[in-house]
């Protein structure tokens, strides 16, 4: 494939999609999308999970071919039928999941894919990498073992590899999702410099703030269709708030998402259903120990557990659900000591746990939705009778779950791993609420979901509490806790540092919570028993 020389104008088309459509079994992933990406621009593709962003990336990267429509590169119709065709056309992609071989050195990964008869030229690569680090601030150590590097460092290697190949279009798919905020800002600055050098950068994200800060032009996708576009001059005239409002309007088509769900109602006063008394667990090199945790949870109440991720929240959830054994203290449920009961026994009593690890702990990806809905009831009536599985009953139950929770899935036979995070979450929630649920522990229930599913999940959590169930809501999102919880306990270093009543009206609530969260012991003296 030969490409014509680029035209004089620096705003010429680098790559274009022309009424492109792509179908997958049961899903219309991309529906007649047209898009022009120009050289010298950072073009943001914005959309929720499942809006079609990744499919567009796949087609540009040569992993999939459009069913209808066509793709043009630098104004010429091109068939990108393999990743190498796409690379030859000057399109390089940094995928959401790192596409480097962990057991090869960085240098080996950089030369991977070159014709097999050619010997790698170390000196030449070294020289070009030195140039790239100087021009773009890329950090690449050639002799490191790739698998030993952090995801952020690996991403730098992928960008370097794209530049080594003289890419004219660089696609960054959800590239900031694994970076720290400062790492994301650095990447944003790199994108800016690359665009100034005449590359076309396609930046895929679902974070609105990043779209505004890093992008020149923003295109918004919704359910596989292109629903709007903010041109560079329009974007330049907006401030961040106005731009975000415009993006939200485009993404959600005017539906209201900002209505506050703050629970304005009297605090429940019933006797505690779940009482944790001086609970402790063993720690390890990777796992923080829990020390001396105590709290009560009443029916109809939502108790929030705030804290920076990794301060013992997961261990707490597991100790309550029976997945982790307690070494001190006890857990009382409905007046009985359940500290020594198994996961199954606690579940039968009505103590349910919704894990944050949906894929590896919560579901078996290759099993159909139907079997996943009864995974915690194996052998129990009515889905089994006398040890024999009753597929018809399981199927009917699963169809009911799909309908009632509006799970977006072709059928109950679809392997659950094919669903989006939000839809898996719905199935998991349905599973925990099956039967006599009395208390539900949510561990980061909206983590990794898109905006629409976050709102729906929060609404459900509130409904569950309104029905009189006790809810323990572990979350790292302060907004979520302030929106839902009656009281908020803050965990740090495996202890509860304090509990505050959620009085969202009072302005310094966030400040108080934040202070408790960062506490490393010195605050404990003053607020340790603030509850």
């Amino acid at each position: 494939m030969t490409l014509p020389a680029q035209t004089a104008s620096d705003m010429s088309e680098a790559v274009g999609l022309h009424t492109v459509t792509k179908r997958f079994p049961g899903v219309l992933a991309v529906d007649g999308v047209s898009l022009t990406v120009r050289t010298g621009e950072v073009h943001v593709l914005l959309g929720e999970n499942g809006a079609g962003k990744s499919t567009i990336v796949g087609m540009l990267a040569g992993l999939q071919e459009p069913d209808d429509g066509h793709i043009s590169v630098a104004g010429t119709g091109s068939r990108l039928d393999s990743p190498s065709a796409s690379l030859d056309a000057g399109i390089a992609t940094v995928f959401q999941h790192v596409m480097l071989v962990p057991t090869l050195t960085v240098f080996e990964n950089l030369v991977l894919g070159a014709p097999w008869w050619r010997r790698p030229h170390r000196a030449q690569i070294e020289r070009r990498i030195a140039e790239l680090s100087r021009d773009f601030g890329l950090k690449v150590q050639l002799d490191a073992m790739t698998g030993d590097l952090s995801l952020g460092e690996q991403q730098q290697i992928e960008i370097a590899r794209a530049l080594l190949r003289d890419a004219r279009v660089l696609i960054l798919d959800e590239a900031t999702s694994m970076l720290t905020p400062s790492g994301a800002d650095e990447l944003g600055a790199q994108m800016r410099r690359l665009a100034e050098r005449g590359l076309a950068v396609i930046f895929i994200t679902h974070k609105l703030g990043e779209a505004y800060r890093f992008g020149d032009r923003i295109s918004v996708l919704q359910q596989g269709r292109m629903v709007g576009d903010i041109a560079p001059d329009a974007l330049a005239r907006m401030d961040e708030d106005a731009a975000i409002e415009e993006m939200v309007r485009l993404m959600f088509g005017g539906s209201d998402t900002s209505a506050s769900l703050y629970r304005d109602r009297p605090a429940p006063t019933a006797a505690p259903l779940l009482s944790v008394e001086r609970l402790g667990t063993e720690g390890g090199a990777e796992m923080m120990a829990l020390k001396d945790l105590s709290f009560d949870l009443r029916p109809g109440e939502i108790l929030g557990i705030a804290g920076i991720d990794g301060n013992g929240q997961k261990q707490l959830a597991e100790a309550l659900s029976g997945q982790r054994s307690a070494t001190a203290g006890r857990v009382m449920f409905d007046g009985a000591d359940v500290t020594r009961l198994s996961v199954g026994q606690r579940r039968k009593l009505g103590l349910r746990y919704l894990t944050d690890d949906r894929l590896s702990e919560g579901t078996i990806g290759i099993f159909p939705i139907a079997e996943n809905t009864v995974l915690k009831d194996i052998g129990a009536a009515p889905f089994w009778s006398g040890g024999i599985e009753r597929p018809a009953r399981i199927g009917a139950h699963a169809r009911e779950v799909i309908r009632h929770y509006s799970v977006r899935a072709p059928s109950e036979f679809t392997p659950i791993g094919h669903l989006s995070g939000g839809n898996i979450q719905k199935v998991l929630l349905a599973r925990e609420l099956t039967g006599e649920a009395r208390a539900v522990i949510f561990n980061k229930p909206t983590y990794g979901l898109d905006t629409r599913n976050i709102a729906a999940s929060r609404r459900r959590i509130r409904e569950i509490a309104d029905k009189g169930l006790a809810v323990l809501l572990i979350s790292t999102e302060l907004d979520e806790l302030i929106e839902l919880a009656d009281r908020i306990a803050v965990m740090a270093s495996g202890r509860i540092r304090g509990t505050v009543v959620n009085d969202a009206g009072a302005g310094d609530l966030r400040l108080r919570l934040g202070r408790l969260m960062v506490d490393e012991g010195k605050m404990a003296d003053t607020t340790g028993d603030a509850a």
Binding site: L63, T93, L100, P102, A114
Partner: protein
């Protein structure tokens, strides 16, 4: 036991280690290539047997041992091509297909041999040897190591060639990437299906050559099922060698020596029952697996078919 440590015994053991070890070496090197590229080639036993049969047939009809080797390579590649088509291109289960191919070739070669030779087992003339000047005259070691068929030396050289290829060339890099993370190779512009198919064909060629060596040099005749698990030992060697051709060589010689203990002990006039001695190589396999099996480092994508864009 002192009587065992005679010159005759040692010489016969060394000779045996090489005669029995070379087919294992070829099979092990071949298997290593497939495994590096991510294909667990269980069909290698069948490839060896096809090589033994076609290699013998070619040598017998053409009266040329070298044409016989080419025939052996062709036989192995023939079976390997089927494996590449089914397992690499069509992504069928590598273990099931590998076992099926081995069983199929065992039956097929026995049948063909029966049609052609009925119950006779014609012999080939003794092959030429290359006597390296002076070296052959060293006592004990000399005749064992330096009075062998040229193929022995070619096999030894191939160890070094492969070691270089894996470490220092883009081809070796491509192979390793295909076995560790094929998706990464694909999006880097490499060709996963092509490199994996090529690796399987190479395995077939090496296994076929090893089989032909067993028939034409080792035994001088073809007997159905004559490879007797040599291909499977090759798989064990490849797994234990952790990707290093030199370790395959070391393992092949050790297993070769174990396999040839029977003859060596008979030469030395021992009275240990032959059944016990014939068990030794397999006991050795088990012992080695128990001791070193844990340390085997296999490519991450070994045995997993690659489909572009699959989640």
């Amino acid at each position: 036991m002192e009587a065992l440590l005679t010159a005759a015994f040692l010489s016969s053991l060394l000779t045996g280690a090489i005669v029995a070890g070379i087919p294992l070496l070829l099979a092990g090197l071949g298997e290593q290539m497939s495994e590096k590229a991510g294909v667990l080639n269980i069909g290698i036993e069948g490839m060896m047997l096809a090589g033994a049969y076609l290699g013998f047939l070619t040598a017998w009809t053409s009266s040329s041992i070298w044409l016989g080797f080419l025939g052996g390579i062709a036989g192995g590649i023939l079976v390997a091509a089927l494996m590449a088509l089914l397992c690499v291109v069509l992504r069928l289960n590598q273990i099931v297909i590998g076992i099926a191919l081995t069983l199929g070739v065992e039956g097929m070669t026995a049948l063909l041999h029966h049609f052609q030779f009925s119950r006779t087992y014609p012999r080939l003339p003794a092959p030429d040897r290359v006597d390296l000047p002076f070296l052959t005259d060293i006592p004990v070691l000399g005749p064992s190591l330096f009075g062998r068929h040229p193929l022995v030396y070619l096999a030894l050289i191939s160890v070094l060639v492969l070691a270089f290829l894996y470490r220092r060339t883009n081809l070796g890099l491509t192979l390793r990437a295909a076995g560790e993370k094929p998706a990464a190779l694909d999006v880097a512009g490499g060709h996963v299906i092509a490199i994996r198919s090529a690796a399987v064909l190479f395995t077939g060629g090496m296994a076929g050559l090893g089989g032909a060596y067993m028939a034409n040099i080792g035994a001088g005749l073809f007997i159905p099922y004559m490879t007797g698990g040599a291909g499977f030992i090759g798989i064990v060697l490849a797994m234990l060698a952790r990707g290093r051709p030199l370790w395959v060589l070391a393992g092949a010689l050790i297993f070769g020596a174990a396999l040839s203990l029977t003859t060596a002990l008979q030469v030395a006039g021992s009275n240990i029952p032959t059944d016990v001695i014939q068990m030794l190589p397999f006991a050795a396999v088990m012992l080695v697996l128990v001791i070193w099996g844990r340390r085997a480092r296999l490519p991450a994508a070994l045995g997993v078919g690659y489909e572009r864009g699959a989640r």
